[in-house]
């Protein structure tokens, strides 16, 4: 997308986007803190670094749309407006978590906000989204089914089957590929799994099936990303069939290893305007690629938000996140006997 051809953002969109991205970031920073304090059992994956593309797509959706995410889904769930306290409670396995402590980090689900079950099996959530698209098409409603997945899902055969059927039936499915592979360290270099495909241009896959593609490049402005996401959602909603939207981001160094570490430090908005300079090995990622700092710079430059407004918003978000985390810490664990509930409806 070219940043020049897009209409400027309005202030309310900027405000909404800033809040959503700050919530996503502060929630994940707190998640890592809670994990390091040994309050989160099991495995989890952080959304840090992917806030721009995800927020743009979430912003383009309506309240009636269906969403599915994957194992890296905290950002989507809190970005859609799910209760922060109940989201943290779920990560902590508490009884009042979004799914009562049954799903945990990788099965976040909030049907009230359109979030269907999150399958943590690569490709499986994409097939469930195909079903959501099938149901929407049968109902005749003008809704969209969005599924967020990572580049690793393009290594699974089922993804290709799904694209074929979605294209064949013109189903309203928005395939939101979150390509966080730029700059990722692969297994053989001591990192976590990174893309392992001979294809480097992932949009060639949907193109083979005649599926429309939209790319939101890592370096695009938010104004451009929002315009691209709206184009994708509108196309889908109009009944033209599926869209494949690639959301590129530069890999956050903190998730290079299996269990994330805050290698880039807690985000400091002052770095957006040079009040402080990023330090250390990963200063480059913070300076050039941190989507939240980039958002702040873009909105200030465009006159959409001031430094003070951003700082005040960030303080409010931090307080909400802190309060939500404490709510989760103070919440009770599930009763052992409740393990037997909800096997059958």
């Amino acid at each position: 997308m070219s940043s020049n051809s897009n209409p400027p953002l309005d202030k309310s969109t900027a405000q909404r986007m800033a809040e959503r991205m700050l919530v996503m970031r502060r929630f994940e920073e707190k998640t890592l803190d809670l994990f390091q304090r040994k309050l989160i059992p099991g495995m989890y994956h952080l959304y840090i670094g992917q806030e721009a593309g995800g927020s743009a797509v979430l912003d383009a959706l309506g309240s009636e749309d269906s969403l599915l995410t994957n194992h890296r889904g905290h950002g989507h769930v809190v970005g859609r407006g799910s209760d922060l306290g109940r989201s943290f409670s779920e990560l902590l396995g508490k009884a009042n978590g979004l799914t009562g402590g049954r799903g945990g980090s990788v099965h976040m689900c909030d049907p009230e906000r359109g979030f269907l079950i999150s399958s943590a099996i690569l490709g499986s959530n994409i097939s469930l989204a195909l079903g959501a698209g099938y149901a929407i098409k049968r109902s005749g409603e003008k809704k969209v089914a969005v599924v967020f997945f990572g580049d690793a899902s393009l290594e699974e055969g089922i993804t290709f089957e799904v694209m074929n059927i979605a294209a064949m039936r013109k189903l309203p499915v928005l395939f939101a590929l979150e390509n966080n592979n730029l700059g990722a360290i692969a297994l053989h270099e001591g990192g976590y799994s990174a893309s392992n495909s001979v294809l480097k241009q992932f949009t060639r896959i949907p193109e083979l099936f005649g599926v429309k593609t939209v790319q939101l490049l890592a370096g695009d402005t938010l104004a451009s990303k929002i315009a691209g996401a709206r184009e994708a959602v509108d196309y889908c909603r109009a009944g033209n069939g599926p869209v494949f939207c690639e959301l590129q981001s530069v890999h956050w160094p903190g998730s290079n290893m299996v269990f994330a570490q805050m290698l880039t430090g807690v985000m400091d908005l002052g770095m957006a305007w040079g009040e402080r300079e990023p330090q250390g090995e990963h200063a480059g990622w913070v300076r050039d690629h941190d989507p939240v700092l980039r958002m702040a710079r873009e909105f200030i430059a465009a006159g959409l938000m001031s430094r003070d407004e951003l700082l005040a918003l960030d303080r409010k978000v931090c307080e909400e996140v802190e309060c939500a985390a404490q709510f989760a810490i103070d919440s009770p664990l599930p009763e052992p006997q409740s393990a037997y509930h909800h096997v059958f409806a």
């Binding site: 049954r102 079950i117 499986s124 909800h342 059958f344």
Partner: protein, 323 residues
Amino acid sequence: MKQMSYAAALVDGLYEALASDEKVSIVSGHPVGFGPHRALMDRVYDDFHDRIFDPPNSEAAIAGMGAGAAMLGERPFINLSTSIFSYVGWSQIVNDAPNVHHMSDGMLTAPVVYYGLHGVRGNGAAQHSGSPQAMLWNAPGLQIALPSSPSDVKGLLLWALRSRNPTFFLTHAKLLSIEGPVAEGLYETPFGVAEIKRAGRDVTIIATSLMVVVALQAAETLAKEGVEAEVVDPRTLTPFDEKTLLASVERTGRLVVVDECPLRCGVAAEITATIAEKGFKFLKSPPVRITRPDVPIPFSTPIEDELVPNAAKVVAAVRELLR
């Protein structure tokens, strides 16, 4: 009541389901195969062609699609054809659909119906003769139906398509032509209710699907020798009607289980373990399992026949048990 084939009853059930519920749709429209029964589906295609989708050969995608659509209130009937093709969509069938309700803390359900023909169909060789029900029985949250009669196949299907839970519905190629009385119109046969297909005092034979027919044949032969076998069909494995099975064994004191799955961890293994655990005091002799041995099914008729449970094997086992 009308006399009709098992295949015709299945198609009748599908027709009634489509006619009575707008949310029902079919993915892959030939559940009775491409053989002599194929034409039975013509009236379904004529009246509901816009609700039948004949998909590409993508079992995993359609299995996941069924679960996803069901989460939004659809009632998809996902025909996987030969049920062993379920292995290609295994993750969606055993790890997505049955977990939805539990993982969502009861907020969502995925009441999809997966369908397939199981068992040794005759010269199907190793890859097209399988029975996945024992493996499926190890997936909590998934209902499993194994109808053995025309009446049951229609009634259980209509129940499955109105249930709030996901179901794997298994028929058998060798059952498609059997005839029996079937009620007209809409009726449901509830899951979790075993049926005594033949009453008897001397031995309980528990069987499902085609093995019920085999057990009934064996019971006829045994009756001529003065042995009255009781044939009990659980009809569904999940939910499982232990009560009727245990009551039968309490009356007869002897148990034979006939099953087309391989022996180890098969359906017969679980049924036998349940009766031994909860009805040990009723048993006058050790229970007997008659199953496929743990051998792949070969192509050629004599070596295929060698491995499959049949009436003669059941008769011989009962004679031995009562000796």
